[in-house]
């Protein structure tokens, strides 16, 4: 098969890959961009996610990424020229405290966040109930709340990016799997199921599937996959405002603007790249859902799905250029949807210029796992 060429090859058309492609186009350098994806549209982590975006983190770097990303989501309809918008419902994230101790921790988090510019605050049970009247009052001790947080439609986000980058001239192909990366002189050749593609620069955005592409090049990535599961209800109006979190259960609940309610329960499971549902999940997920929002026990659950998320030792992203010249990586560690606007921008800079002054790039490098400079999230989450 004859080899195709491009200037920049991006592997993976999830939130990270498409956002990076868009920002590369924004820089208007004339570089030819090709994006390849093994699946079809949104058949990935992004299309399976809980759709939550929040700046309630404890690490300044994460808050920085999210402040930038949320500002972008606010403007996405215009910037991506996507009439109708991406269904950004910006009505906050409410983290429910289980007991007084946890509320005390939340108080400390809020002070820290406020110092970093995050407008979070503590809610009394009454305030929480006013925002979400269906909440189980017995669970309420208090909550942390940030009004800038919310939810964006992953499908519309991907579609907005996809259309914009295609308009800008990028070539995006679905149903094309990259089977191997090879160094060839100063370039990299990607062997794919549809023939080889040669590029000066390759950006790998395949989330938990990255190790298998990089290992043959001698790059050992401390990335594993862990299944994560979710369900969605039939639509129900009116829509309550904030996303709800019960940290101790790994529970995240999010009512989409159309009215469907998504619930994710994240639990510690054996590392596994499978996306098979678990037989014990629905009673767990539905049980926590009903306990949290008893008034919604009658809502029909229409779908239950499972998809792996990427796990790193400190649960922070890995971003930047690899030991192979021209080879770049962006893997999110389970927050790739919400951080994609900012990470796309900084990855575009690194790929085009070889550097970026974004502090996240310096911190979230691969070397930290050798030097032991892990960056744990300081929040009690």
């Amino acid at each position: 098969m004859s080899t195709e060429t491009t200037d920049i090859l991006i592997i993976g058309a999830g939130a990270y890959g498409l956002s990076a492609a868009w920002w590369i186009g924004e820089r208007d350098t004339g570089a030819r961009v090709m994006v390849l994806d093994a699946g079809d549209f949104a058949a990935n982590g992004t299309g399976s996610c809980g759709a939550g975006v929040r700046m309630q983190w404890g690490l300044e770097l994460s808050i920085g990424l999210m402040t930038e990303s949320i500002a972008f989501f606010e403007d996405a309809e215009k910037r991506l020229d996507f009439p109708g918008g991406i269904e950004f419902k910006q009505e906050g994230y409410m983290m429910l405290a289980r007991d007084a101790d946890m509320l005390g921790d939340f108080q400390a988090n809020v002070e820290r966040q406020n110092a970093l510019g995050v407008p979070s605050r503590i809610l009394s049970p009454e305030e929480a109930l006013k925002m979400v009247p269906e909440l189980n009052p017995d669970l309420l001790v208090g909550a942390a709340f940030c009004p800038k947080d919310g939810t964006v439609s992953p499908f519309l986000w991907l579609d907005a990016l996809l259309r914009a980058i295609r308009r800008a001239g990028a070539e995006v192909r679905f149903g094309t799997t990259v089977t191997r990366l090879e160094q060839k002189g100063g370039t990299i050749v990607a062997q794919t199921t549809k023939g080889p593609v040669e590029a000066a620069k390759v950006l790998v955005c395949t989330d938990w599937a990255a190790p298998q592409l990089l290992a043959p090049l001698g790059i050992d990535l401390p990335i594993e996959a862990m299944p994560n599961e979710a369900m969605v209800t039939e639509p129900w109006q009116p829509v309550f405002g904030p996303c709800l979190v019960r940290i101790e259960h790994g529970l995240f609940i999010n009512q989409l603007p159309r009215g469907s309610i998504v619930a994710v329960v994240t639990r510690e499971l054996p590392k596994d790249e499978s996306s098979s549902n678990h037989a014990d999940w629905l009673p767990l997920g539905a049980g926590l859902f009903v306990e949290t929002l008893p008034a919604f026990a009658h809502l029909n659950i229409v779908r239950n799905w499972c998809h792996p998320v990427s796990i790193t030792p400190d649960m922070q992203p890995i971003l930047g250029e690899m030991a192979v010249p021209g080879l770049f990586l962006a893997v999110s560690a389970y927050k790739g949807f919400m951080t994609s606007p900012a990470v796309g921008r900084l990855m575009a800079d690194v790929v085009l210029d070889g550097r970026s002054n974004h502090p996240a790039l310096a911190a979230f490098n691969l070397k930290r796992f050798e030097t032991g400079d892990l960056i744990p999230e300081p929040l009690v989450i």
């Binding site: 039939e234 639509p235 129900w236 109006q237 159309r258 009215g259 009658h298 029909n300």
Partner: protein, 99 residues
């Protein structure tokens, strides 16, 4: 009461007493064993719902699979009229878009 023969759109016999329920502003007669959808169809009421796009909708599959016959029954939206047995005094309302 026992009835045999056709009564309007009703085929064959009925046993038991007819009763009524409310559908929007109308009173609908029903017989034991009929679904809400069947009683409404027998009464010539075919519009069960107004979809989000403003279009009227009614019964389609009759067996609980398509969810087109969703209406508000005793205050609860998204209830399938074809899968709900009619009961005396029930309040059924046309669903307006997503409720």
């Amino acid at each position: 009461m026992n009835k045999t023969g056709k009564i309007g759109r009703r085929l064959g016999g009925r046993t038991g007493e007819p009763f009524t329920f409310i559908f929007d502003d109308s009173t609908i007669e029903a017989w034991p064993g009929e679904s809400v959808a069947a009683a409404l169809l027998a009464a010539g009421q075919v519009v069960l719902r107004i979809a989000e796009d403003g279009g009227a909708r009614g019964v389609v599959c009759g067996i609980g699979l398509c969810w087109e016959c969703r209406c508000v029954i005793d205050g609860r939206p998204n209830v399938r009229a074809c899968m709900t047995e009619a009961r005396a005094g029930m309040r059924v309302r046309r669903q307006q878009g997503l409720e």
